[in-house]
Amino acid sequence: MSSTFAQPSDAQFLRRGRRIMPPVVRGLLWAAIGFFILNTLVSEVLDRTPFAPYVTKLSVTFGWAGATCGWLLGVGAWELVVKPYFGYPVEWEVPNDWRRYFMMSLDHKVIGMQYMVSSVSGFFIAGFAAMWMRLELMNAGLWAFPTPNAYLSTVGIHGTIMMFSFGTVMLVGGFGNFLIPLMIGSNSSAFPRVSAISQWLLPVGIITVALSPMLGTWTTGWRGYAPLAQQDPNGIVFYYLGVFAMTTSSLLVSINLTATILFQRAKGLTWNRIPMYAWGILAASLLNIIWLPEIQMTFVLALVSNIVPLPMFAQIGTPLTYMEVFWLFGHPEVYIVVVPAFALWQEILPVMGQKTLFARAWGILGLVFVMMFSGLVWAHHMFTNMRNDQMLPFSFFTEMISIPTGFAFLVSLGTVWKSKLRLTTPTLLVFMSMFNFLIGGVTGVMLADPVINLQTHDTFFVVGHFHYTIIGAMVFSFMAAGYYWLPRFSGRMYNEALGRLGAIWVFVAFNGAFGQFLLLGLRGMNRWVPVYPKYLQGMNFEVSLFAFLLGLGFLFNLIHIVWMWRRGKPADANPWHSKTLEWQSTSMPGETNFVSPPKVLTGFYDYSDDSPVWKATPPKEVS
């Protein structure tokens, strides 16, 4: 099935492009020019103030917009999007080698790879920030940071990059772009240009947030609370801009993948045969399409309040206004992160057990209802600001959402029951993810109770809870998927012993660190403080040791996967004997997925017999 707007194989339209400098280099150059022009225009011409510095928070906002446009045009949007839109022929050469990863591409597998690298880079940048925070907290006094504000900025950078460049992105933009077209039997995503642009926005966002201390510290954390943000120095400006770039990236890719799943499916791939991971991506994408524009507009209001300045959320509106519109997005964000992880459990376990997926329809219902309920629970983040009668509906729905979440557990456990399960690294990591999410879920139900919530609010108990849900569920599932699909991505197999070692390593370190977060919170350890009472130092010291061990564990897994990607033992085309379509094609980036369009004959999760699930068809049979 072809894409609507890009078909990479018709020779009649091909033209050789003129030679240009490497796109990434050109992008950096154009970004610098864009920044220089717009920043100068604003600070030296339109908003000139005597003795003001060359870079002001107003000028840097426009300069950043110029730099972002220059970057996108330089890496390929000029030739691939803008010029064709105005009637010029496409002149964009994509070499079939490593260079294709350093330029704008329309190949969904190349885009997926680019997303994975950007996203994992964000994960390690944010992880480094976390290590620095834990270093600080080994001692009850201030010692690793020069000021409390520097510590709080690092907390903000950690949370922001983790949430918006990794949690929201990795399973959707990374695995989603690479795998979804393959899983539904298509040769392309629906709007490849949209994903091509969105990928290159992600590094912009990560770098912007990581460099925010250049403009000054900010103390709001990943939530960017206004009007608190307005009393900070200018670093918060880069927070809003960076998040704007990253959320735009996720919004665009969600639009593309939603259209892809609905319109690019192979013949015979009816609604009741759509792969579980595609369901997970569809649910998360719909949440992205609704809630990301909502938070973007909120951040625009907060940004203009800061740079103009305007008195919104202070003299007009209240801080509560901001909190309400923030958490309207903030809680569905959690489900944007974990819904694809639930789907991964249901994708991997039937393959590893070679057993039919148990109660598949309930699994899908679980994903859909979690998606729907996620918009009804947001105010439990604000119980300290509410009356009892306002709390109860949100308390009720927060507890109710555990029911569809439970479907994911029931489907997974039912599938494993009496199966001949292969306890491979992906299987192990899925079980670890389920265990961690169980802890995260149970503590979540506890926090839905106003009595407990009010007692533990703003303590490490809450931090422990959400790290169990986010890292525990999403990151462990991501690792499971990374090992599971490594043979598909690279044609090579990881080392099973090293894989298991890496899994056990991070599991022990994770629970050692975040299990004690829960206990620290109950003993009175507050969030957002680099200095704390001396009696908590012993346990904080231990937590930091486990956190360093966790960081090293993630690094170990990364090195293992990268090494095996290059040097691992060559793998079978379908080493796990999966029935889903991504394993039925051996195409690598730059190659056509299905030379003959596939026709799906049955569902993918029935392992009770060996009948074929698909057959190749001549092109004329496909609509």
Partner: protein, 211 residues
């Protein structure tokens, strides 16, 4: 396919990854090809997702203005500048863009070109009339009067600029012979985007200034 692959040797992996199955240039100008019915539906679905996602920021603006009650319209705002003029310009643009779409379906690229050019000019006029009150607004930091209104003006300028560029692109592509009676998806999408922008601004203006 799976059966062709089986267990492979190291050198085969290398050759598989370096095979050149695609041309050097990755894509061509798809706009000159006629879309199938399914591709039309896909394109329209993409338009719908764009409209849904971009309607939400407008809902946020309309919603938060109530929380900033009593202070969302500047006292000295002109009913014309930043109000009725851009509304009229954008509404006229709806008419012209859809006349253009009808014309190209009837095989009249010349009519499409001038109607879209008029729409682009109307877009520029709307931007100017939205910008003037923004420029002359009193930015006294001690006064909080009309803050939400001027933000709305800025949002409307942003979206109208985008829409005008999109409409202008159709004019250029028609001049290059890339749009014809059977390849009308470009102007169709541009008209949808224009219509959405005009309606969204109108709804915002009505709720801010009149309701």
């Amino acid at each position: 396919m799976a059966d062709e692959f089986a267990i492979v040797e190291d050198h085969e992996i290398q050759s598989a990854t370096s095979r050149t199955h695609k041309p050097l240039v990755e894509t061509h100008h798809r706009a000159v090809l006629e879309l199938s019915n399914r591709e039309w539906r896909l394109g329209n679905f993409g338009n719908a997702l764009y409209v849904i996602s971009q309607a939400i920021p407008y809902f946020v603006l309309m919603n938060v203005r109530w929380m900033m009650a009593g202070s969302y319209v500047p006292a000295d705002v002109s009913r014309w500048l930043g109000g009725l003029w851009p509304t009229i310009f954008l509404a006229l643009g709806i008419l012209f863009t859809w006349i253009g779409v009808g014309a190209i379906r009837a095989g009249k690229p010349g009519t499409l070109q001038w109607t879209f050019l008029v729409s682009a000019l109307l877009g520029v006029a709307a931007i100017v009339t939205l910008f003037v009150p923004l420029r002359i607004h009193s930015w006294d930091v001690m006064s909080h009067f009309g803050s939400i209104y001027v933000v709305c003006l800025g949002v409307a300028i942003f979206y109208t600029t985008l829409t005008t560029i999109v409409v202008l692109g159709v004019v250029f592509r028609t001049a290059a012979g890339l749009i014809g009676p059977k390849t009308t998806f470009g102007p169709h999408s541009a008209a949808i985007m224009w219509t959405f922008n005009a309606i969204a601004w109108f709804a915002l203006y009505v709720t801010l200034d009149l309701v």
